[in-house]
Symmetry: C2
Subunit: 117 residues, 2 copies
């Protein structure tokens, strides 16, 4: 069955994630396993305020894509630090780890997608 959700109806959750600094604001584009046909577990628009970070974590059994929309950050790709900005994409496979920090003075925004391997 089709779905249309206005911005005001898209669920937003703010919380510290994986021991990062400050809160991660997650706008849930798809909600729950059913809306992803059981093929993944997360499809979010993520906002990190200046100075905030999403801490290091390793994926097991799934992989995660980030697609950067706005702002500037430092991304850890399995421990290698790289600058990221609008239009850049990153992917970590199952068994690999990543983290990201807003190193700019505006919000860092990206799309996050986790699919099961």
């Amino acid at each position: 069955m089709s779905i249309v959700r206005r911005k005001s109806e898209v669920p937003v959750e703010s919380r510290v994630m994986f021991g990062g600094r400050g809160e991660v604001e997650a706008h849930k584009i798809l909600v729950g396993a059913d809306e992803m046909y059981g093929k993944g577990r997360l499809f979010n628009h993520v906002v990190l305020k200046p100075g905030c970070s999403l801490g290091w974590h390793v994926h097991q059994g799934d992989g995660e894509t980030y697609y950067f929309l706005k702002g500037h950050g430092e991304y850890s790709d399995n421990g290698s630090l790289i600058p990221v900005g609008p239009g850049d994409m990153t992917f970590v496979d199952s068994g690999e780890g990543h983290s990201v920090e807003n190193t700019g003075d505006e919000d860092l925004e990206f799309i996050a997608l986790i699919l099961y391997k």
Copy 2:
């Protein structure tokens, strides 16, 4: 294996889609079935210039989510026309159809994700 692609390395394809007006510019965030673990067939950042549209089409065996980032458009949700803008999301299930047109005077940008049902 992890992936990092700069904006300049993200493949871009422009073409008329489903008989729409003008070309649809698709930035391929994930490329090919392998990068989606075989769970879907499209994860794109789509840009529609003013006056352009992505024509009506029906999904079979998969569902598609749009998440709007910029601009203003008119979306057909199974034939019901609704205005869409930044932060809105839409989803069509297998067996359902949709289309979208840029009705504003700036680019209409959205993320598109197709997962297999």
